[in-house]
């Protein structure tokens, strides 16, 4: 590879990283709930994207590639934990979410959703993926994506309305 090509590639990757990193982190965070773990997973996914940049750059949705890689890493890590480590505290509520950085009330509502619904919401909201792309990233049918999204938005709407009415006594 010529030096000029390498520097152009790196410039392209730098631009991609700058534009995508926050949204990718927010998407993965919605799924894994621990901000440090999410940051590690997304960093590793971006590193792999750079290691395979020629291919990733031509992917129809490079940000989706990064998120899918991060989520796959998360699953692998979780499976290893499950197989080889004691489960003490494994299912305890995550306390790693940077509470000072997010709207904790709304985050708590989101975190109460089943994991698939959280993933669908995050991919649709933060990455702006359409139904087909979301289905591809998660490896599920488009109809299932639509169903999860409908249920998730309905649940969020209900919870938010309840929060709103509690916070605004008449």
């Amino acid at each position: 590879m010529r030096r000029k090509d390498v520097s152009q590639d790196q410039a392209d990757f730098a631009e991609f990283y700058a534009e995508s990193r926050d949204d990718c982190l927010r998407t993965v965070l919605a799924a894994v709930r621990d901000v440090d773990q999410a940051q590690d997973l997304v960093a590793e996914a971006f590193a792999r994207a750079w290691a395979s940049w020629r291919g990733v750059r031509s992917h129809p949705a490079p940000r989706a590639w990064v998120v899918r890689t991060a989520l796959n890493l998360s699953v692998s890590s979780w499976r290893r934990h499950r197989r080889e480590l004691p489960l003490t505290g494994h299912d305890a509520p995550a306390d790693g979410l940077a509470s000072s950085l997010v709207d904790t009330e709304l985050t708590a509502v989101l975190q109460r959703l089943p994991v698939r619904q959280r993933q669908v919401v995050a991919l649709r909201i933060f990455l702006d993926l359409d139904t087909a792309q979301t289905a591809e990233v998660l490896g599920i049918a488009p109809g299932t994506v639509t169903a999860h999204l409908t249920r998730a938005l309905a649940a969020l709407r209900t919870e938010l309305a309840a929060c709103g009415s509690e916070g605004n006594p008449s």
Binding site: D40, V42, F46
Partner: protein
């Protein structure tokens, strides 16, 4: 409240979340991944690697009857979190298992007992190990001037092998470590690792 309001509210709730890992850390890690993939000739080393793996696996199986005695942080009946197996060519092969290698001190002691000036830490590549207490860490070749040469790094951590290393195992060639240098093993959250060279000192590497 309609769907658009919900979406807006969720987006706003995560507005304070930012990825603060510097680009050069990502690029450096990506380069290392790429370099590992590019090393050809895996087949040529397959026999040696298979023998080492066979020894390591034998050591991992309770009651297998093998006399290989690698260091291990595992209790009876569980797979070892790590094993260190001496090879006939004077190198050692370290295999890591599981996402959480807790007994880094045990692994460090074992490497030192095998004659390797070593420091084992859990730092993470998100925080490049350039400020390990008591250690002067040399940058790798991908970080540009000031780093050690790629050739030396390969001699220490690959020796004659030219294939891709496992993400969960590595070699250390004692005889390739120049006088005054030591090795730093940085174990990541998922049980993979980073390999660096450091200036040997009693505080850093025990020598």
């Amino acid at each position: 409240m309609n769907d658009a309001d919900v979406i807006t509210a969720v987006k706003a709730s995560y507005a304070g979340i930012h990825m603060d890992v510097p680009l050069d850390v990502i690029v450096g890690r990506g380069r290392r991944l790429r370099a590992q993939r590019r090393l050809p000739g895996l087949a040529a080393a397959a026999g040696t690697v298979a023998a080492a793996v066979a020894l390591a696996v034998a050591a991992l199986v309770p009651g297998s009857g093998r006399t290989v005695a690698p260091g291990s942080s595992a209790g009876t009946g569980r797979l070892a979190a790590w094993t260190v197996v001496s090879q006939q060519d004077g190198s050692v092969r370290v295999a890591l298992r599981g996402a959480q290698i807790r007994d880094v001190a045990g692994l460090q002691d074992k490497l030192r007992a095998d004659g390797i000036p070593a420091r084992v830490a859990r730092i993470g590549y998100l925080r490049p190990p350039l400020s390990v207490p008591g250690c002067q860490v040399f940058r790798d070749w991908s970080a540009g001037p000031g780093g050690i040469s790629r050739a030396l790094w390969l001699k220490i951590f690959y020796g004659p092998h030219t294939g891709q290393q496992s993400n969960h195992a590595f070699w250390v060639y004692r005889s390739a470590i120049p006088r005054g240098l030591g090795v730093l093993v940085d174990i990541y959250y998922d049980g993979t690792f980073g390999l660096y060279t450091v200036k040997a000192s009693p505080r850093c590497t025990g020598t």
